[in-house]
Point group: C2
Chain length 255, copies 2
């Protein structure tokens, strides 16, 4: 049994709590949040606290708080030489106070409270300074059915940038498509199968091979027509820049 | 039974041929392509030709050739008053020569030869000048299990732009993520669950609600760190512009 104490009650901590709670090999010893009301509905399932000095002993302390607060919270922990990890894609391993054994347990997925997540489909990027700590994180990932990847701090930072493109920026493409359909009395619904297929396609084909459309065809006439029809200047700028980017990737001449 | 003659042998025509061929209510009377070798493997299943003057009579002629060639091909058809449609998201209904009864049968999906497609999941945007022609296209869509949407030429043009964002530009986000992982010896594999989840999320939640990450959080520190780490100037420009776009959508201050 791996004993865990969770710190934080945001998107990530809430999902981790649920999946740890349902695991046969993991037990949540305590759940801390500075505002206890956020976790008080769980008080019959798990020991909750808003007092760092009341923290018990556990194999792993998981700090799932905002990136900016990781250093402060880890410093405020009233013990040392225990295994403390954060869940951030950007924060350094060294943001955790040096008095602890340090590690990272970064789930590469987009979490929203409410939306269900299936951890068996979530890659876990793990890092640990000591070999035994690293192994413990591997077992923790296994305990929730996740695939683990050994990723260095430098790699994790780059991976987070890649994830911003693959998730946040992709989602903004959906948003702009939504704005365009709404402005033209078209149901956004009609685009959903295309969006799903676009993501499914690259599960088995490289994004390079999967590209279609006017930009990769070098179809300047269509691109120009589109630019004339787009009224929003920001959408226009994005259309131009991304068409150029596709042109460059596929060795086409610019617009 | 609806009889169809297909013109063209590209991505769209090939997939249409397959699904029509398997439909109980549709028969492919002939398949035309200017280069007959591209369709010669089908010669035992369907009558093939590279000669427009040899075209038979059918309920619908579907011109699935490059956008630029629609006008020429429709003009070259040696008959009149028959129902001729194209499959383009951009071309006007009026690109089809006026001697025909005109229509549009635009499948809103990304097609690549080889990759399987499930037409029951493909919205079909249909347009027809005559009511009876419009109804025939509705039945054609039903015959392949697709949902049909009545979309005007103006709407279809905008929808195509929205699709460029939702598909081509989204796929380029994947491509850039791929470039970043490759440059840092990380398996692109690790991003695939995130990419799929991002697309799945907006099937039930608006892209506005689904947004996460540094830009929507107004986390300028992370955005600046990322910009410092990104070496490719084009990736940098895209990161900036899309961060601004997310900021604007969610009413955050700019970088
Ligand atoms: N969301 C994602 O998709 C995602 C994915 C992978 C990794 N991550 C990482 O996971 C971590 C948590 O992200 P999240 O999305 O769960 O954040 P979140 O939903 O915004 O929740 C932040 C949590 O941090 C706590 N907190 C903030 N400042 C604090 C402070 N000074 N002292 C104590 N607690 C403080 C908040 O406490 P209160 O409840 O008391 O306000 C809240 O429980 C971050 O490092 C993030 O980078 C997020
Ligand atoms: N690909 C998609 O994801 C997609 C999705 C929805 C709609 N569409 C639309 O569907 C149509 C076809 O697209 P596609 O992707 O199937 O194109 P494609 O794969 O590039 O194939 C183009 C076809 O057009 C033929 N063609 C080109 N110029 C011609 C000419 N002057 N005379 C006769 N035939 C000519 C080609 O003949 P050869 O084989 O002899 O070269 C080829 O068979 C376009 O209007 C496109 O906008 C495409």
């Amino acid at each position: 049994m791996i004993s865990v104490i969770l710190l934080g009650a945001g998107n990530v901590a809430s999902h981790l709590y649920k999946v740890f709670h349902n695991s046969d090999t993991i037990t949540v010893t305590q759940w801390y949040n500075r505002h206890i009301d956020k976790i008080s509905t769980f008080k019959n399932e798990v020991e909750i606290t808003d007092d760092l000095s009341a923290l018990k002993r556990a194999d792993i302390y998981i700090i799932a708080v905002s990136d900016d607060a990781i250093a402060t919270v880890s410093e405020a922990l009233p013990f040392q030489d225990r295994f403390v990890v954060h869940t951030s894609g950007t924060a350094s391993l060294y943001d955790i106070d040096a008095k602890h054994r340090r590690g990272v347990f970064y789930p590469l997925q987009t979490f929203t409270k409410g939306a269900e997540v299936d951890f068996s489909n979530i890659p876990l990027c793990i890092e640990g300074l000591k070999k035994s700590d690293f192994k413990l994180l591997k077992r923790l990932a296994e305990g929730i059915g996740s695939k683990d990847y050994k990723v260095s701090t430098e790699q994790r930072k780059r991976l987070h940038i890649a994830a911003v493109f693959a998730n946040n920026f992709t989602n903004q493409m959906y948003r702009i498509a939504h704005e365009i359909t709404e402005a033209n009395q078209i149901e956004f619904e009609i685009l959903k199968p295309l969006i799903l297929e676009t993501a499914k396609k690259i599960q088995t084909m490289s994004p390079y091979m999967a590209q279609t459309g006017p930009a990769v065809r070098g179809d300047k006439k269509t691109a120009k027509q589109h630019l004339n029809l787009i009224e929003n200047p920001q959408h226009k700028a994005i259309y131009k820049l991304l068409t150029e980017s596709i042109n460059d990737t596929h060795g086409r001449k610019k617009l």
